[in-house]
Symmetry: C2
Subunit: 167 residues, 2 copies
Amino acid sequence: MQNPTGTPGDAEYSDVAWLLEELFRLSRRISPTSAYSLTVYSALASLSRHGDARLTELAAYEGVSQPTMTQAVGRLKRDGLVQQIPDPRDGRAVLISITEAGRAALAERRSTRGERVAGLLAQLDPADQQAIVAATGPLRKLAEAVPDRRTGAQGNQPTTPLKWERQ
Amino acid sequence: MQNPTGTPGDAEYSDVAWLLEELFRLSRRISPTSAYSLTVYSALASLSRHGDARLTELAAYEGVSQPTMTQAVGRLKRDGLVQQIPDPRDGRAVLISITEAGRAALAERRSTRGERVAGLLAQLDPADQQAIVAATGPLRKLAEAVPDRRTGAQGNQPTTPLKWERQ
DNA sequence: GGATATACATAGGACTTTGATATAAATGTC
DNA sequence: GACATTTATATCAAAGTCCTATGTATATCC
């Protein structure tokens, strides 16, 4: 199950990539049908977790283009889940800020998802449950290790470091 | 880190649901930009893994509506990644079958994703790597435990059991 | 001040997704 | 066998998602 070096081998590595496909399917199947895509909720969750952010920063963090995030934020704003605040330090920029309604929507969704995941976990052996719980920290580190996808119109690379990324 | 019962508690359970959000973001960030959505690739991967399937079956498995899958398959067919074969046992049904070109496209994509995941994993401590590898099996079980989302036009529940689901 | 870079918005187009509905084939009832 | 019902898929309209290319305003650099 483990090669002589003590670290996982290539087979296990591609297993992890493949696992992500299945977890994507799982993620959608446990998500309540809603008005927003997984991406839009992901952006909202990021705002909740990391605080206000610039539009471009949020787009890079979520791995979508800046125009896509402009539209997503437009819908969230229309529905009152976020606000746009002009950045006092930079007249070009706007800060996106989650509202109370946004936090409530997020809590509602998380509650549903959390219950469903708990129901699924309860069906597994205790050993499997513990293996999953033991891996949540490492998997989160894995997710944080992925570099930004600087997307959007070609040469639009900002020089200011994104505050959300690992420093 | 573990309560007296030996099984994870509620806090750990909601951690898992939340982890899925981050892994979704990871999944998109490591995916090569392509013509198809994550869903379309997921459907193609399912065909590769489980064999031919009916349209409705595939839609339920992926958690999307039947019209969505009809369109997705239409594009995949247009691009030669799948074929549609009339079901010899049922004149109403069609079987979706992945083609060699479909398998090739899948392999290409998996290769890219696999390399990127490997690169990320290599940045973690060996202990974290091993925790992740140890959890792949349990997480796959978790993904398989999720019930179908029987979607599509309201009362369209098939009576025939879906052969892909855990019997 | 003028050139360049950056932040965001807008425009246009292809893809995604859904609910409602249509069509055709299978199944059950009499 | 005719009929109603169910099921599998297709079609349609509408809203959402996402991209590239481009425009506009502000910031920064010389």
